[in-house]
Amino acid sequence: MKFRTALASATILAASMVGAASAADLTVGFSQIGSESGWRAAETTLTKQQAEQRGIDLKFADAQQKQENQIKALRSFIAQGVDAILVAPVVATGWDEVLQEARDAEIPVILLDRTVDAPEDLYMTAVTSDLVHEGKVAGQWLADTVAGKPCNVVELQGTTGSSPAIDRKKGFEEALAGKDNLKIIRSQTGDFTRTKGKEVMESFLKAEDGGKNICALYAHNDDMAVGAIQAIKEAGLKPGTDILVVSIDAVPDIFQAMAAGEANATVELTPNMAGPAFDALEAFRKDGKLPPKWIQTESKLYTQADDPAKVYEEKKGLGY
């Protein structure tokens, strides 16, 4: 194993010396999963923007949710002799062979947004967000905002069993641990959708004395929060004042709600995964410095104080 790692570093180093050109004539292949969500569409847009700004020639391949398409795309990138490959893997397993082929061809591979179950020396680095940390940031904001006052929280979970739902719940609970004034009184799944978010919030409001018993809502994504905000309004309460609303993702629509004072805070899951990836790649090509195996993206907190109307304008063109 030690020998293999040494070999890997040596080959990658050799590759860097051979191709020690400037970033200007860099060619990078990007295999994207597909466009199943607005977030992913924004990730594609931002990756293309980042490449253009840096003068990188980006070859884009849409896998339409199929791993076989991604493997085909990777092989074609290898055949074209690109300088690096970015891949957002659709599933975690089954990558060893094609990653080995990339390494044999001395092409560094960077994983975006998700990781794979393959030996670490088969890829250069993975750029992902920390889902637990996102939940923690949201919980910390709530704890700071209520500042010791008693507060009953209702939680809209993501799809039961999905890793964002498990991790965002865990992080939020970690932030609330030891703070006896904050209590999660109800927690149900809203399947990450607006419709279910609204329906579940309606039942929370009925079950908790017309909502008088609820002080804050924590939603695992913004879409559920947007649905829940409508339910709160229809129950005759003011979202953002009567019930605090904090959620995760930072999609454009939540900024509209924040600008209207109906949502309080959101934690960004940045679609700019390519920026840090290109940074790492450029640093590596310049002085051969290998990045750490995991680059964590920033989980930035946005509140009503961050000029949500302006952020909305910036974000709405990204294809969310």
Binding site: S35, E36, S37, G38, A41, Q157, T160, G161, R186, S187, Q188, T189, D191, T193, R194, T195, K198, E199, V200, E202, S203, F204, K206, A207, D223, V226, G227, Q230, E234, A235, G236, D253, G319, Y320
Partner: protein
């Protein structure tokens, strides 16, 4: 007339009883369940939520009942909902009036139904396969319309359809009740219902006795498409946006379940729209009940499945004959069956 009414009541008895039992069960788990109050000029309470949230499945169940009565099935309704929601949102955001938007959207739904109907009636493709085409392709079409994003709108007229109120009832409830009554009257006050049943029992025999089965079959699928269009408009208006990925997702299965719980056979023939609507309410009562009860979400589907299985077991022919056996007049009552009459 009274005997017809009595037969009607007997037909609906098992479904109504099941609904009552579920409502009582939920009220045991959540005491404030039956509380109703007026708020902002509309009824407010969990019972209203059930009627309101059940609207999409209830609407789909109306069309699905008629299709199933023809011995068919329509798997595409969830996807058609997504298409129609997307079309409505796209029309209203591109500046069309409310009336134009609704007309275009309803026409889109009917067109989807026409496509299904032609595949089934003219090309003679099995309904499950024929409608599978649109079920798979439909969500893609919807995504093309919305360009992959949730298309939001602010038109007060369209939003009113999703969250407005008429006579104290939420609009979706008014719509599905009115539409259900209209369709039920249409098929039962004319010979249409009987012709559909004849077609479902034996298409060839119906054709030979002079029923234009082809036209009738296509019409059934068009009705189902229209129902899906209305449901799609309501679903989009409710969240003020068209979500191509999630609108109507898996609702075709809930609609089929509502029809089955309503006691209409998947083999075609006799059908009851009222029973299917009660079936839809049963499903929604279970959903709302689970949400109110505060169980962890991991149990949602298990509880739902267990209750549905119980209802289906009670309705099964074996159980029915067992009930008949147990409730038959006994010899020791001193009378034979003949005397009892």
């Amino acid at each position: 007339m009274t005997s017809a009414l009595k037969a009607y009541a007997v037909r609906l008895l098992p479904q109504a009883a099941a609904l009552a039992v579920i409502l009582v069960m939920v009220s045991l788990a959540f005491p404030g369940f039956f509380r109703l109050e007026m708020q902002n000029g509309r009824l407010y309470g969990s019972l209203v939520d059930i009627l309101n949230r059940g609207a999409p499945v209830a609407l789909l169940a109306i069309g699905m009942t008629v299709v199933i009565a023809t011995k068919g099935i329509d798997l595409s309704v969830g996807a058609v909902m997504a298409i129609c929601g997307a079309v409505a949102a796209a029309c209203i955001t591109s500046g069309h009036g409310l009336a134009t938007t609704l007309l275009i959207t309803l026409a889109t739904g009917i067109l989807c139904g026409l496509w299904n109907g032609i595949l089934v009636a003219v090309l003679d493709i099995q309904p499950i396969i024929a409608t599978l085409v649109l079920m798979v392709a439909g969500r893609g079409i919807a995504q093309l319309v919305t360009e992959g994003a949730i298309l939001t709108f602010n038109d007060p007229g369209l939003i009113f359809i999703g969250s407005g109120a008429l006579l104290g009832l939420p609009m979706p409830v008014v719509i599905w009740l009115a539409f259900g009554i209209a369709v039920a009257l249409l098929v039962r006050r004319t010979a249409l219902g009987m012709l559909i049943e004849a077609l479902g029992v034996n298409r060839r025999a119906a054709t030979l006795s002079g029923v234009s089965t082809g036209v009738l079959l296509i019409a059934a699928y068009m009705l189902s498409g229209l129902c899906a269009a209305i449901a799609g408009i309501i679903a989009a208006a409710d969240i003020r946006g068209a979500d191509a990925n999630n609108a109507g997702l898996w609702l075709e299965l809930d609609a089929i379940l509502a029809v089955v719980v309503g006691g209409t056979s998947l083999l075609g023939g006799r059908f009851s729209i009222a029973a299917s609507l009660i079936g839809a309410l049963i499903i929604q009562s279970i959903n709302t009940g689970i949400l109110l009860s505060g169980f962890p979400p991991e149990f949602n589907l298990i509880i739902k499945a267990a209750i549905i299985v119980m209802i289906l077991i009670i309705q099964s022919p074996r159980a029915q004959s067992a009930f008949a056996f147990l409730s038959r007049p006994r010899a020791e009552d001193g009378k034979t069956e003949q005397e009892a009459k």
